[in-house]
């Protein structure tokens, strides 16, 4: 009984507040920009088509700069989850030049690939390592991952043929819809593979660039996620002549990788 009598008392001021009952306010001091309306496509796009269109477009680029802002979820033994952030600036020139600046508050590190060798440089510790690389970016990324445990986030989209890495083992492909990612209209796609559920946001327009990648790693207990925003795309950068070649600073020391060092030591001890 009491509640019913109170209802108008609650509703009336609420209606007034949301402007239903009041006349339009005085004119705005600054003109409001017309809202951007991007009309929805008449036919729902096929997710595999959108993905392959992006791959084709990335294949067509011979050089670019992109920033990757990655957030990785770590699950502690206590099941507490922490996020680890990382910012990387990637410069790439096909078929065999790559430079990655892993930023951090302690100076970060840099990865160079000049077509013949790769180098890893950590300015804070004043150390670097160099080793022979493979003839192409793709093979070098594989080499770095398999032999040196250096993983480049979103490497899949950097390779010559992104299709070959992305479009495999897909058991379910979904076109979710369109949405703004950092102000850019994007297609939102979702895929499932036996080990990974992943989503990608691809720019809707003349430049179908990947703008965000999110994956849920089902092969790891607790299914941690990795999300990477791809920002600051520059499709026409000019690189200085020796931009991809590492020249060690005078005070930098060349050090081995752990596995190499361990492989060498017994031999030394035997001498």
């Amino acid at each position: 009984m009491k509640m019913w009598s109170l209802l108008p008392a609650i509703l009336l001021p609420a209606l007034t507040l949301f402007g239903c009952a009041s006349p339009p306010a005085d004119p705005a001091p600054a003109p409001v920009a017309a809202p951007v309306v991007s009309p929805a496509p008449a036919v729902k796009p096929d997710p595999m088509d959108v993905l392959k269109q992006m791959a084709r477009y990335l294949r067509s680029l011979d050089r670019f700069n992109v920033r990757v802002e990655r957030t990785m979820e770590l699950i502690l033994p206590t099941d507490q989850r922490l996020h680890a952030d990382q910012t990387l600036d990637i410069a790439l020139q096909k078929p065999n030049r790559l430079r990655v600046n892993f930023q951090s508050l302690s100076g970060g590190r840099q990865l160079f690939y000049d077509g013949a060798n790769f180098s890893l440089y950590t300015p804070e510790a004043k150390v670097y390592a160099s080793a022979a690389a493979a003839p192409t970016i793709d093979e070098t990324l594989d080499l770095l991952a398999a032999q040196y445990q250096i993983f480049l986030p979103v490497a899949d989209v950097l390779v010559a043929d992104p299709d070959s890495r992305l479009a495999q083992n897909i058991t379910l492909a979904t076109y979710v819809g369109r949405i703004l990612i950092q102000g850019v209209p994007c297609h939102h796609l979702a895929f499932r593979t036996p080990e990974v559920d992943w989503q990608i946001w691809i720019e809707d327009g003349a430049q179908p660039l990947p703008r965000r990648l999110l994956l849920t790693d089902k092969s790891v207990e607790g299914s941690p996620q990795m999300m990477a925003n791809l920002t600051r795309w520059d499709l026409a950068p000019t690189f200085p002549a020796d931009f991809f070649t590492f020249r060690p600073p005078q005070d930098a020391q060349k050090i081995p990788f752990l596995d190499q060092a361990r492989a060498v030591r017994p031999a030394k001890a035997a001498q």
Binding site: P77, D156, L258, R265
Partner: protein
């Protein structure tokens, strides 16, 4: 009222009976490993990937292709000893100084004897640089540390006293 509390007590006792031995087992595991090397610490002893392991779990960095290239060395990492936590892959974490961060090699406690082969991500204090045959070692409290790359991260491995030094 009385009977429900009695049920509570019985439940608590049952839980204690189950949990007690489990906790004891965990602490034994930690102790058994604590004496080993410089890092010591708890490392999951069971089969990889099991629940409740002392490992930090991280996702892969890539969707990946058919040839599983980003997974090749996961188990390889598991056999590395002398870490405070066992990571299910070589996690690339750019945290400033790793204060309280559970990822990375162990720090060596002051006054702890360190075994050759131990890996640390942070050097003890009061180290002096020693150059032998063009290689810079850090001499800290009688142990020698050599910088290495472990994946993309710089770590320090405890090495035998470099030959040529102190001879």
């Amino acid at each position: 009222m009385y009977s429900s509390c009695w049920t509570c007590l019985k439940r608590a006792l049952t839980v204690a009976l189950i949990l007690g031995p489990m906790l004891a087992m965990v602490s034994v595991d930690v102790e058994a490993r604590g004496g080993r090397g410089g890092g010591g610490g708890a490392r999951y002893a069971g089969h990889g990937g099991g629940r409740g392991g002392h490992e930090v779990r991280a996702p892969r960095a890539n969707v990946g292709g058919g040839h599983d290239y980003h997974r090749g060395n996961v188990n390889h990492r598991d056999v590395n000893v002398n870490r405070d936590v066992n990571i299910n892959r070589n996690v690339d974490v750019d945290v400033d100084r790793h204060w309280g961060y559970p990822v990375g090699a162990a720090a060596v406690a002051v006054g702890t004897a360190v075994a050759v082969g131990a890996i640390v991500s942070t050097l003890p204090s009061n180290c002096t640089a020693v150059v032998v045959d063009g290689v810079t070692y850090q001499s800290c409290g009688g142990a020698y540390y050599a910088p290495r790359y472990d994946g993309p991260n710089v770590v320090y491995e405890v090495v035998p006293a470099p030959s040529g030094w102190n001879q």
